[in-house]
Amino acid sequence: MSLRPKTLTMNSRISQAFSKGRQSGRPLFVSYLCAGDPTFDVSLAACRALINAGADLLELGAPFSDPLADGLTNQLAAQRALENGMTQTRVLELVRAIREFSEVPIVLYTYYNLVFAPGEANYARQAKEAGVDGFLVLDLPPEEAASWKKVCADEELGTVFIIAPTTPPDRIAKISETATGFLYYVSRTGVTGERADLSADLSDSVAQIRSITDLPLVVGFGVSQAEHVATIGQVADGVVVGSALVNCLAANPNEPEKAVAALRAKADELIAGIA
């Protein structure tokens, strides 16, 4: 069974990036950072370093006080950002600042209360104006997403959804019908964070999803080494790296230049996995 692919308008940054990737046979390097970690300025410099390293898509985490789907690394990153005055308005300012020098697709990785509190339509419009291309709302399953889907469709924003190892086939189909832009397969049950090895049945799982949908598929959760990137890159349209990058910032709390340099080095090392 193969459902008709739901893509955004052909000229959207997300669709362009994935079709370019598919044409060239090279998977996308999707990098995650928490917006404003540890400060607005360092975060902007870190995003610039990732883009210069060749990141194909930026996932920016909106810092939330109660990030229950995130592991300790991302939780602490959010805490640092919030303590240093990051707000939802500043998250969009960061996106605007990136847009001054880059057309890289940007997806906000967030929690539903941050979208709901300012009003879904209002927030989607502001995000679109700032240059956001799509959203992944971690605690919003398709069952609760009707109104959010509609406002995102109105603004031509992608709505990315997660598929988990616990997701059965009929549900994969349902999620695929709800998602636009791409799908995100979490390579194992659990919260975000670095892992030493990847789930063994990864390629079987990806093959199963591929048999159900043609949407671009990125794989993440726990990717920390170039060989992980290479392994995932063989089966997916994109590889997501988060905690391994966030840790570079966390490891150098008082030396922003060193932190950004370490981040760049890590990004270079990982991107080599799909070069």
Partner: protein, 430 residues
């Protein structure tokens, strides 16, 4: 300051604090709603409730819902539950006429629903027994739970010992300190208590950690959520396991007085003891129902946990409900003298009945609570849990306003043994 002296101060202060307490006037209640029609199949109580969780948990939650519905339809499950509630927990609990307290207040007859008499010391055991039997039927080997005051943790540890489950309880580091006795009780019964250092290190952060554990281990682990909170099916399931409180209370008050009470009062953190008592009475619109939230140091940002005072609608930890939050949607810090009420969200069914005006909500401050704590201890020889004392503090104010032939039922949801160390500190007794 001696206990006696502080008690006398408490009595004198009763008049003052009565004025300070938030109290709405009795009002016409809305048309009754079929209480069993909620939640809908997707877990919604009107606009509230639902399933706002990471994708990894959706399938385990669907499985849990199915297993729960199957169990409820199985006479064997209901038999085992009834047996355990009687033999292990000690149900039914008494509906006790507090004669001296009634005289002291000089108004309505005050009855106390004695959930404090249950095994492990609070109503929490009702839900833990139900969920443990369910987990056994589902073939789970490991149980996790969050706890605030420790009462739910203790009840979970007890049923895990009884049923032979591996047990991990998450507890905020701040709560571990103020409820050290309960930490030891859990460990004594074989539970592993994991301190949570994240966030403000109280109940909300313990829920986050428990959910993280469940996201990682959902295949062999059942999460016994301790209040009528979180994603569907928890608010429904926890309510169902506690509604025995109200069913007994109705039978008992009819036996004692030949009629229904005029007013019922319960404290509300997540709201499990409250919905447990009120559920059976929701359609009896002449019975006024009042939930009492934690007013902490007073209704100022970060100083309380009264969601209907300072909160607005949002989504936290699986459920859409009233939440204390800032304009960005970040969750506010909370404060209450009672760890069990120190939580930024309220159960979604409460939000629904709040909007319908079927249940009214008030709050009691820490000061009110510490006074009422001493009053009940002194007058009735019953030391109440600080959580339940919120309901009592409200009752002490409310009863004198009522006629002597009127009836007030207060849910004494737990006993205060766990709180004595903290009370000594707060009352300046060394």
């Amino acid at each position: 300051m001696s206990v006696v002296r502080s008690f006398l101060i408490a009595i004198r202060a009763l008049g003052d604090f009565a004025e300070k307490m938030a109290l709405t006037t009795p009002q016409q209640t809305a048309t009754p709603i079929d209480r069993y029609s909620l939640p809908d199949a997707a877990g919604h109580f009107g606009q509230y409730g639902g399933m706002y969780v990471p994708e990894t948990l959706m399938t385990p939650l669907f499985e849990l819902t199915k297993a729960y519905e199957k169990a409820q339809a199985d006479p064997k499950f209901r038999e085992e539950l009834a047996f355990m509630l009687k033999q292990y927990a000690g149900r039914p609990t008494e509906l006790y006429f507090a004669e001296r307290l009634t005289e002291h207040c000089g108004g309505a007859k005050i009855y106390l629903k004695r959930e404090d008499g249950l095994h492990t010391g609070a109503h929490k055991i009702n839900n833990c027994i139900g969920q443990a039997i369910l987990a056994k039927r589902m073939g789970k080997k490991r149980i996790i739970a969050e706890t605030g005051a420790g009462q739910h943790g203790v009840a979970t540890a007890a049923v895990c010992a009884k049923f032979g489950f591996e047990c991990v309880v998450y507890m905020g580091a701040v709560d571990m300190e103020r409820q050290a006795l309960n930490v030891f009780r859990m460990r004594l019964m074989g539970a592993e208590v994991r301190g949570v250092e994240a966030g403000q290190r109280t109940l909300k952060d313990a829920v986050n950690e428990a959910m993280r554990d469940w996201v990682t281990n959902c295949r062999d682990t059942h999460y016994i959520l301790g209040s009528a909170l979180g994603s569907h099916p928890y608010p429904m399931m926890v309510r169902d396991f506690h509604k025995v409180i109200g069913e007994e209370a109705k039978r008992q008050i009819l036996e004692a007085e030949g009629r229904l009470p005029d007013e019922m009062i319960a404290c509300v953190g997540g709201g499990s003891n409250c919905i447990g008592l009120f559920f059976e009475f929701l359609e009896d619109v002449d019975v006024r129902l009042v939930g009492v939230e934690a007013g902490g140091h007073g209704i100022e940002q970060g100083q309380h946990a009264a969601r209907f005072e300072g909160g607005k609608v949002g989504v936290l930890q699986g459920s859409k409900t009233f939440i204390l939050q800032n304009s960005d949607g970040q969750i506010e810090l909370t404060h209450s003298v009672s760890a069990g009420l120190d939580y930024a969200a309220i159960g979604p069914e409460h939000a629904f009945y709040h909007d319908r005006k079927r249940i009214e909500y008030a709050y009691a401050t820490d000061d009110d609570v510490m006074k009422a704590f001493q009053v009940l201890s002194r007058i009735e020889g019953i030391i109440p849990a600080l959580e339940s004392t919120h309901a009592l503090a409200y009752a002490l104010k409310r009863a004198p306003q009522m006629d002597k032939d009127q009836i007030l039922v207060v849910n004494l949801s737990g006993r205060g043994d766990k709180d004595v160390q903290q009370a000594m500190k707060l009352l300046g007794v060394e």
